[in-house]
Subunit: 479 residues, 4 copies
């Protein structure tokens, strides 16, 4: 396993292909640091005795101790631990832990490469297992680039005016392929070591060129990471963990990029493209049943704290809103537990969480995202939006007055109230808050995508048979 220092050294050694604000920057650019801090936590806490048991696992390939973010789930307990680890780490960084997508993609590839080989006689799984062993040994932080830019939403990939609107193979060579396209909304890509690419949807027979999956180093030739950074406002005096974490989203452009054979995990098998897309989404939605409850924990923490400071924690309407936050949080978490408990073992040995429970859980989190922010805004009041600048609290003239007038309950120091409101401002009144809200709706698939996934799987027909039985349209009892 790696240390965060080694991780950072690795980043510094990478070729500059990150664009921020019109310029190529190196990975030690200060704007990337808050994002890097998030990932560093996944290395640092894995050796912290309090977290170690949760954050490490045993490789099924080598039997060695590995970071759980590189583990392939081989039991119900593996899935439950992944869920719990995600919640724990998201709580500790105050938001998205960002490293889940890499391992979610690896688990999806574990099952799909095996299945494709069985069906088509290919050897993707062998390549994959070799890659996995290296991945585990080197404790890799990876991005998964799935969502294509999609162009005209009313057209399929092969119908687009510009065929590059979905990433595709533009050349096939003996030693590999050349791909072109762009993947959007790639969290972590700017400070990931590897980028794993999967298709974004089901494909038709004429879309062989779009049925492609592979992995490459993030600084690979002809890959451009155009990054949008959203960090919290910098603190000058009131340093806090929440002010050291940030989000970086990449539009990842594959500008006629060569992919060598040993890094290719799907290449033309259109039948498997959609399955891989869905399976990555499924593992990722199971991860959401861990991370969204953490956001709930944090939101209810701020809500309860500010209510306590304002002297209204026991008010009935505050209690009702806390109960509402708890209910959303724990229903989502419960759905993840149920998904793990009813998971199935794939032919490859990988445990696949239950589709329906993952999707109802992720959907419930998604449709409550804005509502959770609304509750915190409601209880915190306007000061979350109108809190004066930190510096004014230290101005000799108005500083003491601000500290006088921010007081609430006599036994809570002004600085605590100040800290509490500044953190809430970061949480619901900042650019980062906007990113988190939109990610809460769309990350890992919007609620409407979960509805589609649910409807595809669910046995509605059986329910109609029950209705027919009860109303006397069919005579025998359906079971």
């Amino acid at each position: 396993m790696k240390t965060s220092k080694e991780y950072y050294e690795k980043l510094k050694s990478m070729k500059p292909n990150v664009y921020i604000g019109g310029e190529v920057v190196k990975r030690d650019d200060a704007r990337l640091k808050p994002g890097i801090n998030v990932i560093s936590l996944t290395y640092d806490l894995a050796t912290n005795p309090k977290f170690e048991k949760l954050l490490t696992a045993t490789s099924h390939l080598t039997g060695e101790k590995i970071n759980r973010f590189t583990n392939i789930h081989h039991s119900v307990d593996d899935l439950l631990k992944k869920q719990e680890m995600t919640r724990t780490l998201c709580r500790m960084c105050g938001g998205c832990i960002q490293r889940c997508m890499g391992i979610d993609a690896m688990n999806a590839l574990s099952a799909v490469t095996y299945g494709v080989d069985q069906r088509f006689g290919t050897d993707y799984n062998k390549r994959y297992l070799k890659y996995l062993q290296w991945f585990q040994k080197n404790d890799i932080a990876a991005n998964c680039a799935q969502t294509d830019v999609k162009g005209d939403r009313s057209k399929r990939p092969h119908e687009q005016k510009d065929p590059d609107m979905y990433l595709r193979v533009v050349e096939r060579r003996k030693d590999g392929i050349v791909v072109r396209g762009a993947k959007a909304h790639n969290t972590i890509a700017g400070y990931a070591e590897e980028i794993i690419v999967t298709p974004t949807r089901f494909l038709t027979p004429e879309e062989k060129d779009w049925a492609v999956a592979f992995a490459i180093p993030a600084d690979w030739d002809n890959v451009h990471l155009v990054c949008r950074v959203t960090n919290p406002r910098e603190r000058k005096k009131l340093d806090a963990p929440i002010s050291h974490v940030g989000d970086v989203e990449s539009l990842t452009i594959f500008d006629d990029t060569f992919i060598p054979n040993d890094r290719i995990f799907l290449n033309g098998e259109v039948e498997a493209a959609g399955i891989l897309a869905l399976l990555f989404a499924l593992f990722h939605r199971h991860s959401y049943t861990g991370c969204k409850p953490a956001i709930g924990d944090i939101t209810m923490g701020y809500t309860a704290l500010v209510a306590e400071y304002n002297g209204v924690e026991d008010a009935k309407h505050v209690q009702a809103k806390l109960a509402d936050l708890i209910s959303t949080t724990e229903l989502v978490y419960a759905s993840g537990i149920a998904a793990a408990y009813t998971s199935t073992k794939d032919a490859s040995g990988t445990y696949i969480p239950n589709t329906v429970y993952c999707n109802v859980g992720r959907r419930h989190a998604g449709i409550n995202t804005y509502h959770e922010a609304e509750i915190l805004a409601d209880i915190a009041g306007g000061l979350a939006a109108t809190l004066p600048y930190e510096e004014d609290f230290y101005n000799p003239k108005v500083g003491p007055l601000l500290n006088k007038y921010i007081m609430r309950k006599a036994d809570v120091p002004a600085e605590n109230i100040h800290r509490c409101y500044r953190a809430i401002g970061d949480a619901i009144c900042s650019g980062l808050a906007g990113v988190m809200q939109i990610a809460g709706v769309h990350g890992g698939g919007s609620p409407v995508m979960e509805e589609i996934a649910i409807l595809k799987q669910y046995d509605i027909k059986q329910r109609k048979e029950i209705a027919k039985y009860l109303s006397g349209i069919r005579k025998d009892m359906p079971v």
Copy 2:
């Protein structure tokens, strides 16, 4: 195990103390039949090979095969099976299976009598175990009478102008006690064999007389069952399973009733009254994570069927509403799975489901009850409320015209459409529908009661510590 015939013979042998519409009736009164049919299903299907495995268990006392409705949960699997059995049976009877409350009360008593004995040196558990063995052997259908009539809601039991507003001990004798009071909303009581009485709330030291639990035959002296019957409209031609089930609610009056010692399971130990109240509620809410999903199954079955008949099943808004129904249904079921999976073994050996998951699940069901009816009403349209009488469909003049004008898709016979709408009318446009909706909100405890239970158990303080850590108010990481 008993047959439904034996159950019915037993009912017929009981002393008449059931009041309906101003008169005392025997238990073979036709108005009770639909309710009795529901309970009969729990006997009949226990020997049906398709259901047997789910509906039977092995007694931990005798090792004998018993009806699962008399089983004390001794494993995670017991809890999961109870949940699944409940869903399955509710689907088959088209509503509440009604027998759960008896076994939920027995499980609560299993833990509480044991705990009270440990603490106070009493022998309630011995009495209870003897009673349980008889209960299992005789495959008893029992009611649990918990909710007192409560009088002035702003006053505690001992503060009421009329102290009988909560059932209490009015006399203590050597061979037993005499109790007075009334218990409300007692489903099944009118055709139960036994009535199990538990306290309804936490009590204070001066409320010893109200801290009482016991079980008696339903036709015991000085017990009056004042019953409100709600059956579906009778069918003359279009016989259907849904038209044979009904609901009977009893206001059960204890009119200075003597309870012999061997049937008393709590008597004055105020410290345990609230625990018993909550624990029964907890087991019962876990049962709700089984029955409410069945109501969801049925509602979505009718919704999908009527949409199919109307030719709109694939319409986007219909699909979205089905996805909404599925989500509510499966989130509630998932919470029950999670509650079972994270259950804990009590000192008595009884498995106690997780409080938070049971309560968030029951609450979610409760706050969606009316919304589910609304969806079915929305998709079915006005005909659910305006369908002409059954007899008019058989009138020689207008009957053929009604059958002509009820047609939708050419390949669906008029009778099927007729049956479908008549069943939907029963489901959302009838007195029984009203009872089911109100029970969906209040049965087993209203959503506000679940919120209170959640807030009591939940570690909000820990979430505030997370908020303090993230905002820099406390320095070390809370785990």
Copy 3:
């Protein structure tokens, strides 16, 4: 103006063509009485000094004093008074006043017959005015039969396998036409004097036969009124206004019915069919901005009363729910005021309420219907569903006990509590409650129909231009 006695005499004189439960009945059948009582109120109160000013108007044809239910709106104030009258009367009968649809249809015909004549040189308006004069003079209670049975919802009228699925002209004679078809969900038809028929949707050029509007006496030859009666449970002791009102819905079958020329108001002008359909709906939705607030008044009245009796009226959550009921009620009413205030004068002189405000108001009422019932159920508690029979309260043995145990606050007599809960049971736990709920969703057009009406009218393009301006896509300010 007519008295309710004269109205009832008229009903008794009519030919029997009402079917109930498989038989033809006369209009003095007891089952129709509760519905007749509702309409009688519109006659009785028109001469009651407290209501007279609101319930009467001046005919623009004759200058005579008329019942406002026969008035054509000729000012903003007319529309406002109609809205206020509707709310007032619905409060007094505890539900739908049922007579609005007749006058809504007459107002729609006022504008459309005039417009059609202007465009096509026909003389429908002359016929209409003659009919109107008779209608006003005889103070007619009329039904409007609009909704066709529609058959396969995925097909247009002329595409149906059975062309009668939408009412159509099957024969054209010199002296009139013969029509065939059926109209569904016709409230009041069973005790209306006249039936006014309008098309139900926009039509295409090949659908001339379906573009037909007319009025006939309700007992006209070859018209069958197949009625579904929903009355509250009969009271034996606790007589109350709420127990004397009911709802009757007719499936009205036109079995090759001859319509004489002077009663025909549209015949083949497909261009006007949709306009007439929409305009009736518009006037009717404006009526809903009067009646739905009355349902809100009643619901909040019961909610506040039962909360008071239970001693919890001042509880925060009760107050919040009352505020919620008030908000829905008054937003809907405000939308009706705004619709009247921004109404436009049609070429015929008829005032047409604003489409957008009528539709957002009706939609808001519709999407809150079940929610309002839920609030009352929530505050009233389970007793609304489990209240024993009236007769049991008068049984010598259990009656006194029931009166003892129903007590809440010491100063509220048992009978008041009993009455309050019995009324709430009628309101949310009865067949009539189901009808009211489904009517609340679908009556006058379901929320989805209002959305379609809104989207058709609303200037979304202008809002896009604002967006373009603000984002710099267009340079000049759109006004």
Copy 4:
């Protein structure tokens, strides 16, 4: 009437008492410019022929033409025009027009100073009218400072440990008073010419010192404006109106500030403090029925535009969401129309909008604020949060690629899509978005404040009487 240039000159001439980021700045500080641009619009458009009629009025004092933002409402039409002006201007600046609070305060003072004089024989109204004449003539842009910082929310003003938690009179002199305290959430204060101070709540007899209202120049001695600036991200290439407007909120500290007699409008009359507080809130909530619909217009504009660009505008779920946005928007606007139409003329001649309609309208806007953002986020998708920096689109290497991959429908230029998403990012994914959301909940009073105002005014008793009549508890009809 003034020009925006004159307004800006005035600002530049004012004494520096604005604090931003720890320093005192002059009013020409670049960070204040976006806010100043908003106010400038109210001057510029008043002379623009397209807007003039709406934005000007006639002074009831002098008969001269004045900016409507200085007008006292003397008719229903005045209130309707104020509402319409507010919606129009908010649309044109893409958010809050900020100048309403000054005129809302002036209208409240118009009624209250008159009423206080009538009751107490004081001469506040004379002072006020003199001030008003100067205010109209000089076309003053004013802030209203109402909300006190409030300290411990569980204590009244006179119970606070620090009595300054509510602004109060600390000294009474012959020529005026000295006040101390701080007012929070003061939009516009940093570039207002005047600050009008009103009490924030009802007061008790012992709280005379807190019953104070007055107006002073914004740069008055011993007034500190501690400002928090929230501007949109600066644009380098894609200039747009939306990028020139911003929000500045002041915590306004009265540091033993002297107020001369002629600027004092309330001083010790505790009976009037709450009335003034409520009346300002009422006028301000009526203003919200104009501004919130504008936010709705803008949100639906962006939603429809991005849906059009993505080729999904006609999708059913998009249409449903647009209908939802329209409904909220127009229900709120309708409530403002109804409030104006049913306004009452005060003894002073000022027209007071209807309390219930203003409050249900403002509440409906408030509880839908986050939901509106959610809809836009839902339809826009993740790119609103992950759009690369503007500069990257002009980088020679990745710029052309970004423009290639941002394409949607072939006929929409990349720049338009880019502009559209950048504007949406500003609208829902920025610090300013957070401020707007929190202001949408709390500005002018949170939904819970509206509920309190509604409950205070609403005749719930009458609704209970209706319930009593319908259920037979009272015999006569309540009217």
